[in-house]
């Protein structure tokens, strides 16, 4: 985090505003007007929302007519990714969305991990919520855009690692509007514990952050020295922006041959033309910080 960033955070945190009385009074009024939930309450809410429903009818009708989510279990089974020989965890497409009106393209597959345990449940919930939210936002954009507007949303998934010990699902989100952005999200399950694992979970203390950042910076410097066309923003620029900043939530990949790979989103660490770069970090860099239960994962 740059000095400028730290200053902004500090000042903003100190100046965090209290809730004004007018807002508190509004919340009081709204909450006291709410009917009980249930049939009677539902009717009251319906009456309360007649005008609002009319206002949003166009959006709903649009979504009903054009965007057709397929949610049948038979369909999900049919479209389920065929497990490869040796795969331990099965993933199926539980829902899909498709739209092509000549200007807007929507093609979304929502995965479901067919595995028991908290980790799979968390991931299934997360991917369902994320994809639903993005589809909803896309439909809204289509609704308000001009007739000759363009845009696309494409979400696919694949399995990066699927072994007796470890499972990794990758979600690829590709959006095009005024510009374009591609982002990947990696979800990991330790199949011994059944838990979802994030980068920070692999280590016992925070020393790994400096160690990994130093190793990644070395690699980026070396690549830039070898090829003048490459640019990485491993340090904040002269204005104090950007720079390499890992945390416990950062994406990572465990490769089949036992290496740790750190992928970056577009624009996260390099200009857009560099795509989504990734770097492999040698085990000796972070070996001292590894949690005991994950030592066997790395070479």
């Amino acid at each position: 985090m740059s000095e400028f960033d730290r200053t902004l955070k500090k000042l903003a945190a100190e100046e965090r505003r209290d809730l004004p009385d007018s807002a508190r009074e509004r919340v009081d009024a709204v909450l006291s007007s709410l009917p009980e939930r249930g049939k009677t309450g539902a009717r009251q809410m319906t009456a309360l929302y007649v005008r609002r429903i009319a206002a949003y009818a166009a959006v709903f009708i649009f979504a009903m007519l054009i965007v057709l989510p397929n949610v049948s279990s038979a369909y999900a089974e049919t479209l389920g990714k065929v497990p490869l020989i040796g795969d331990f965890v099965r993933v199926v497409t539980v829902r899909s969305y498709f739209l092509d009106d000549g200007g807007h393209e929507l093609d979304v597959e929502v995965p479901m991990i067919k595995e028991k345990g908290n980790g799979a449940e968390e991931i299934n919930r997360d991917t369902a919520e994320l994809t639903e939210m993005l589809v909803e936002a896309f439909c809204k954009e289509v609704e308000i855009s001009s007739p000759d507007g363009h845009g696309s949303l494409n979400i696919t998934y694949d399995t990066v690692l699927n072994t007796e010990r470890w499972f990794t699902l990758r979600l690829c989100i590709s959006e095009t509007a005024a510009g374009s952005a591609v982002t990947y999200r990696y979800y990991h399950i330790d199949r011994e514990s059944g838990q979802q694992i994030r980068l920070g979970d692999l280590f016992e203390d925070d020393g790994w952050i400096d160690a990994l950042e130093e190793a990644l910076t070395r690699q980026m410097r070396a690549e830039m020295a070898a090829d003048g066309n490459l640019t990485y923003w491993y340090e904040p620029d002269e204005a104090g922006f950007g720079g390499l900043a890992l945390d416990g939530e950062h994406d990572f990949i465990l490769t089949p041959d036992g290496n740790l790979m750190i992928p970056f989103d577009e624009y996260e660490i390099a200009p857009g033309y560099m795509g989504t770069p990734f770097f492999t970090v040698e085990t000796e860099v972070f070996d001292d910080f590894l949690a005991e239960e994950y030592r066997d994962l790395f070479r």
């Binding site: 919340v27 909450l31 009917p35 939930r37 809410m45 309360l48 909803e136 936002a137 104090g240």
Partner: protein, 161 residues
């Protein structure tokens, strides 16, 4: 979730809901309207909330969308005077805080919302992405561009680092 539990959870996040609405609308009256409408909208759609553990993100997203809908239905009027009326909790760095708040208020949407949620509310980019219905990488881009704009605005104001 029944009405009382819904009310309790709304109370828990009311300050944050107001902050989201104010970030978009920049005036107290409209922020209160968006907040009130958002609460009603959320209650009417409560059956869509499948997991109560995501209530915070869910209701903040509804309030955010309600505020954005409001701004789309009217022209975005600027009420920067209200920034000067924000009560400060203490006097330390009061001038710098006011200058920063004014600069944030001058940012365009969606940068203003991202900056408010990231710096003022200390929310992680992942959570902001869910509230704003965009990918995390997009939030990072918003913040990156917003910082550049803030840096320029604040250097014009002789902002002390």
């Amino acid at each position: 979730m029944d009405r009382d539990e819904f009310g309790e959870r709304v109370r828990e996040y009311e300050r944050l809901m107001y902050s989201v609405a104010f970030a978009v609308l920049r005036n107290e009256t409209d922020a209160c309207d968006a907040m009130g409408d958002g609460i009603l909208r959320a209650y009417s759609r409560l059956n869509e909330l499948r997991d109560v553990t995501v209530f915070k993100t869910w209701i903040l997203r509804i309030v955010h969308n309600t505020a954005v809908d409001m701004i789309r239905k009217r022209h975005d009027t600027v009420c920067l005077e209200e920034a000067a009326q924000i009560p400060m909790r203490d006097c330390e760095n009061a001038e710098e805080k006011l200058v920063l708040r004014e600069a944030v208020n001058r940012l365009k949407l969606p940068y203003r919302t991202a900056v408010t949620l990231f710096y003022y509310e200390d929310l992680p980019t992942e959570c902001i992405a869910r509230i704003m219905s965009v990918p995390t990488v997009t939030v990072r881009q918003y913040l990156y561009r917003a910082r550049k704009q803030l840096k320029e605005m604040l250097s014009e104001e002789d902002f002390h680092r």
